[in-house]
C-alpha cells in the first residue's frame, strides 16, 4: 500500500469511529484536539487501525500516533519491517472482512 492509500484508509476509520464527515479529517488532524475524540474514541480508532492493518500498537508507541499522518507513518513503518501482511489485513484491504469482526460499521452484529 502507498502512504496515500494508508492515509486515506486511516481517515475512513476516523470518520466511521468518530461519526465525522470524511472531508473534516485532514492529514494533520489530531484525534483529541482537532477531532474531539474522547478516550474511548481514541481507543476505538487505534483498535480499528490494528484490525485493519494487521498490526499491534504497543502502549509505548501510543503517544507517537496523535494525527492521521502519524498513524499512517507508523503503519507504513511496521509494514516495511514485516512486509507479509496477516490474513486479516488482506481481507480488510480487499473488503472481504470476517463478518464477525467487532465494531465494523459495515458489518453490524446480528442483533441491533
Amino acid at each position: 500500500m502507498t502512504t496515500e492509500s494508508i492515509e486515506q484508509k486511516v481517515r475512513e476509520i476516523l470518520a466511521a469511529k468518530l461519526s465525522l464527515p470524511l472531508e473534516k479529517i485532514g492529514r494533520e488532524s489530531r484525534l483529541v484536539e482537532d477531532l474531539g475524540a474522547d478516550s474511548f474514541g481514541a481507543l476505538e480508532v487505534l483498535f480499528e487501525v490494528e484490525e485493519t492493518f494487521g498490526l499491534s500498537i504497543p502502549d509505548t508507541e501510543v503517544e507517537r500516533v496523535r494525527c492521521v499522518k502519524d498513524i499512517a507513518a507508523y503503519v507504513a513503518e511496521q509494514k516495511e519491517k514485516a512486509p507479509a501482511p496477516a490474513a486479516d489485513a488482506v481481507a480488510d484491504a480487499t473488503g472481504q472482512r470476517d463478518s464477525e469482526s467487532p465494531g465494523d460499521p459495515k458489518n453490524p452484529p446480528p442483533i441491533g
Binding site: F40, F47, D88, E100, P102, G103, G112
Partner: protein, 387 residues
C-alpha cells in the same frame, strides 16, 4: 419519620407489541401479541424458536449516532425509555438541580450480546482482538450510567441485578430514596436484551421455555391448562418518579402514586419459587402494609406461564387476600410479550400505571383452557371494579 409522597409523571417503554407508552397500551387493551419466530439469530437447532423480539426499533431516534454505535442493545432500550419518560413527563432537566436527579435501572444479564460476540472474537482470533470498549459496553450499570451521562442526572446512580425482579426492585428502591429525601426525581425501571444464542441455549437447557413453535402468539399462556413453559421476551420500561409536591408545583402530568413497596427472599432455590406461595405472599402483604392499603382493584401477575410459578403465585394471592381473592381481577402481560426477565417488572409496572390512568384492565391475549382457581383470572378487557 416524615416521608415524602411519590408520584409517577412519565413513562417510557419498548416492548415487542409496542414502542412508546401509547402504542404499547393500545396493543395491551386489544390483546395483541408481539411474539413470533426468532430472527435475531439462527435458531433452527433450538428446541424453542419463538420469542417476544422487538422489531422496528430505531435507536437513532432516541440518541446520537455515535452512542448507537458505542453501546449494547440493552442500553439502546434504556436510553430510548429514558428519553420517552422525560418527554412524556415534560421534565425540563436544565431547570432542575442535577444533584437531586437519580437513576436506578435493573437488568438481569447486562450486555450479554456484546459479551458473546467478543468471546467468539477472542476464541477465533485471540484475546488481543477483544474490543477496547468491551468493559463499558458489557457492565450491567452501563444503562444507568449512560442515562446519567446523556441527561445530566448527577444524583444516586444504581444498577440492580436480581434476575426477573430487577426492574420492579429498581422502581421500589427509587421510591424509597425519594420517600426518604435522598433524591427528588428518578428514572427507574428495567431493561433486558436476552435474545442471544448462548443465553437462549442456556434457557433451553433449563427446559423452561415453551416449545409451541408452530403457534407463537398462543404460546405464552399463563394460568392456562395447556401451558408448556415461558416465552422469552426483550425490551425495557422506565418510570419517571417524583416527589409529589414538586410534581404538583411544576404542573407535571400525574399518572399514579406509588404508595408501598416490600421485598424479600424465599432462601429456597435459584429459579423455582416455594410451591406454597408463602414467600410471594409475605412480600405482597408487606407492600400492602407499607401502603396502608387493604383492598386492591387489579393484580398484574408475574405469571410466567410455567407451572411452578403460576401455581405458587395463585396460592400466594389466596394467602394474602383470603376469601376476597376471588373478586380481584388478575391478568398477565406476559401472554402478549413473553418474559423480558430483568425488564419484566418495569414493563408490567407501566401496564399497572396505565390501567389506573385509563381505568381499564387489560386482558391476556390467550385464554383457551383456564384452570379453575379461587382467583379471578380475567379473560377480557374490562373496567376497573369499584370496591
Amino acid at each position: 419519620m416524615n416521608q415524602h409522597r411519590v408520584v409517577v409523571t412519565g413513562l417510557g417503554v419498548v416492548a415487542c407489541n409496542g414502542i412508546g407508552a401509547e402504542a404499547f397500551w393500545s396493543a395491551n387493551v386489544a390483546g395483541r401479541s408481539g411474539i413470533g419466530l426468532i430472527d435475531a439469530f439462527e435458531s433452527n437447532e433450538f428446541a424453542s424458536r419463538i420469542a417476544g423480539q422487538v422489531r422496528g426499533f430505531a435507536p437513532e431516534n432516541f440518541m446520537p449516532e455515535e452512542t448507537v454505535k458505542r453501546v449494547d442493545r440493552f442500553v439502546h432500550f434504556g436510553l430510548a425509555c429514558a428519553r420517552m419518560a422525560i418527554d412524556s413527563g415534560k421534565l425540563a432537566v436544565a431547570d432542575e438541580d442535577p444533584d437531586r436527579l437519580g437513576v436506578i435501572i435493573g437488568s438481569g444479564l447486562g450486555g450479554l450480546l456484546f459479551h458473546e460476540e467478543q468471546m467468539v472474537a477472542a476464541l477465533k482470533r485471540g484475546e488481543m482482538r477483544v474490543n477496547p470498549l468491551a468493559v463499558p459496553r458489557i457492565t450491567p450499570n452501563a444503562v444507568a450510567s449512560q442515562i446519567a451521562i446523556h441527561h445530566g442526572f448527577r444524583g444516586p446512580n444504581l444498577a440492580i441485578s436480581t434476575a426477573c425482579a430487577s426492574g420492579a426492585h429498581a422502581i421500589g428502591e427509587a421510591f424509597r430514596k425519594i420517600q426518604h429525601g435522598e433524591m427528588e426525581v428518578a428514572l427507574a425501571g428495567g431493561v433486558e436484551a436476552p435474545l442471544t444464542p448462548f443465553n437462549f441455549a442456556a434457557y433451553c437447557a433449563l427446559r423452561v421455555l415453551s416449545k409451541r413453535n408452530a403457534d407463537p402468539t398462543r404460546a405464552s399462556r399463563p394460568f392456562d391448562r395447556d401451558r408448556d413453559g415461558f416465552v422469552m421476551g426483550e425490551g425495557g420500561a422506565i418510570l419517571l418518579l417524583e416527589e409529589r409536591t414538586r410534581a404538583l408545583r411544576r404542573g407535571a402530568p400525574i399518572l399514579a402514586e406509588l404508595t408501598g413497596y416490600a421485598s424479600n427472599s424465599g432462601a429456597h432455590h435459584m429459579v423455582i419459587p416455594e410451591a406454597d406461595g408463602r414467600d410471594a405472599a409475605r412480600a405482597m402483604a408487606a407492600a400492602l402494609k407499607d401502603a396502608r392499603l387493604t383492598s386492591i382493584d387489579y393484580i398484574n401477575a408475574h405469571a410466567t406461564s410455567t407451572k411452578a410459578n403460576d401455581t405458587a403465585e395463585t396460592r400466594a394471592i389466596k394467602l394474602v387476600f383470603g376469601a376476597s381473592a376471588g373478586r380481584i381481577p388478575v391478568s398477565s402481560t406476559k401472554s402478549m410479550i413473553g418474559h423480558a426477565l430483568g425488564a419484566a417488572g418495569a414493563i408490567e409496572a407501566v401496564v399497572c400505571v396505565q390501567a389506573l390512568a385509563h381505568q381499564i384492565i387489560p386482558p391476556p391475549s390467550i385464554w383457551t383452557h383456564p384452570i379453575p382457581t379461587a382467583i379471578s383470572t380475567t379473560s377480557r378487557t374490562r373496567p376497573v371494579p369499584r370496591n
